[in-house]
Amino acid sequence: MKFVFKLGIKNLFRYKERTFLTCLSLAVGICILIFFNGMLEWADESSIRNLKKYETASMKIGNLAFFEEENYIPVDEVIKERGKIEKILNGKDLEYTPEIKFKANLINEITGDSYPFFGMGIKAESHKKVYELNEMVYEGTLPKSSKEILISKYTAELLNVGIVDYLIVETDTKGGAHNADAFKITALFETPNPEVNKNFFYISLDAANNLLAMNGDINLISIKAEQNEESLARELKKEIDIEGITVRPWQEQAADYMDLSQGKKGGSSMMLMMAFIIIAVGIVNTMNMAVFERTGEIGMMRAMGMTDKEIILNFIFESGGLGLLGGILGLVLGAIVTWYLIRYGWDFSNYVGDLSYGYRVSAVFRSKWDPGMMITALIFSTVSASIISIFPARRALKRSISETLKSAGKFG
């Protein structure tokens, strides 16, 4: 076995140029795999972080009817027995913040330009403990007084306004009446979550209460939790036990993202399949040539008493060596690409702008170290290369020894 292994490794370096080119093609396959996987892992991790920090919190408490028609935003579907809920949350020592979410048009009072947005009435002090929006605010703070509005840099550019300009917020009250008021832009924000940048503006809870005539009601409570969100949400719902009130963990709120994330798992399998095809094509081609060129040599080895198993093993070691070398080279290339993306990122903003396509990440793509995938890629490259070599070797062994010796012109 040791001898067969040594022979396989020696054959690996028989045609250095071909070995190098095959390894390079494998390395490119592995590098692409690591590149896409790292980027998707980063997008996944960042999306979850950016969802919880800026959009969904860990979970939200609200009226079931409100959640079910969230795009329509029925502001009259308020939280009942708020005092009981807050008592339970305080008892569990959880950070939470009350919110009024509503639909509104933002209107540039000078140009008359108008766009639909989601408005959020927030309480600055508690909002800071649940979200990290305040850290993404520049030239100002979260809105505290009743006539201040916080919009994103994206919204400011869209409406062609800036700090100290006024925007008209036009909406329907809880009772269904039409209402509008002017708000002064006191700050701009830019989060890494494009959905928030594109769709949300913030005013104080009091201002939202007045604008929507909520009579002190709120329609959401956002909660920050360190433990497993889904199990805590179930536990809270059970304890709250108010008809029509539910607790939605971030996973349920961000269904669009979750669908994408699930799809990514299929995408990873697809990537592995693509890498396998690249490896298979490279290896099959190289090993076919190796077997073809060494027909006479295989015949000689069989004539001298080498068994079919030993000959196949010889090719497995050679091909596995190719896969291993290609895999290592691919890891090095993949590591360089990953390092570059982590350090500098890849700015896609000129191509995709602020399109979020479900992921809650900015247009500057980055990557993430994924040692598990790197090891898997290396093992995958070595094992699949080894397996693929069996086929040409077996085909060569189907020919009779005398035929292989004769075709190579070596015997007779």
């Binding site: 001898f3 000689m300 008493g305």
Partner: protein, 223 residues
């Protein structure tokens, strides 16, 4: 003492609807320690007979025995192990493995037999010295002349101390001087080691060195 005995040995190759009778009822006895040549023109059946004697192929009909053991009915694995243990091959174009050194090429059959590293070293260095290749152990085939390569091939055939060496046109790719030296070497090994040598050739020099000539024509013996 009989080493090889064939009786009514025939081999027919079938390609599509064409039947080629390569050997026709060949009956032959090769004694232990012979230094013999099978001669004949191309297509006379020399290689087919070699393939059957060397257990590289199976006969269509007839029997072939080696040291009293019937080879005709051995399965694939048994034939492989038979070749591994009992037969040494010398090929027309040397057939050395280019990535291995002279030492490693000669050691190849011993590695297949699972010999220890110590035994391999002892035997290979001794035999390479015997065939006049001392000091060239670490050279790869590309760094050896044709004659030197064929000496490595002979050493490879002999290293496992086989009962029979089958050499097919061993001098075909060598000049007459180198070919003569090689024949002398094999003759010497035949005497010293009592190994049976069987050549397939149409080289007159090989025939001259051989003690017995077996002529084949159209698949039949004309001794």
């Amino acid at each position: 003492m009989e080493l090889i005995k064939t009786k009514d040995l025939s081999k027919i190759y079938i390609s599509g609807e064409t039947e080629t009778k390569a050997l026709r009822e060949v009956s032959l006895v090769i004694e232990n320690g012979e230094f013999s040549a099978i001669t004949g023109p191309s297509g006379s059946g020399k290689t087919t007979l070699f393939n059957l004697i060397g257990a590289l192929d199976t006969p269509t009909s007839g029997t072939i025995s080696f040291d009293g053991k019937d080879l005709s009915n051995l399965n694939k694995r048994a034939r492989t192990l038979f070749r591994r243990e009992k037969i040494g091959f010398v090929f027309q174009t040397f057939n050395l493995i280019p990535v291995l050194t002279a030492f490693e090429n000669v050691a190849f059959p011993l590695n297949l037999l699972g010999a220890s590293e110590k035994e391999i070293k002892e035997k290979v260095y001794n035999l390479l010295e015997k065939v006049g290749l001392k000091g060239m152990e670490e050279r790869k085939p590309a760094a050896l002349s044709g004659g030197q390569q064929q000496r490595v091939a002979v050493a490879r055939a002999l290293i496992k101390e086989p009962i029979l060496v089958l050499a097919d046109e061993p001098t075909a790719n060598l000049d007459s001087g180198t070919g003569g030296e090689l024949m002398k070497l094999m003759r010497k090994l035949n005497k010293e080691e009592e190994i049976t040598f069987l050549f397939a050739t149409h080289d007159p020099m090989v025939m001259e060195y051989s003690r017995r000539r077996i002529k084949l024509r159209d698949g039949k013996i004309q001794e």
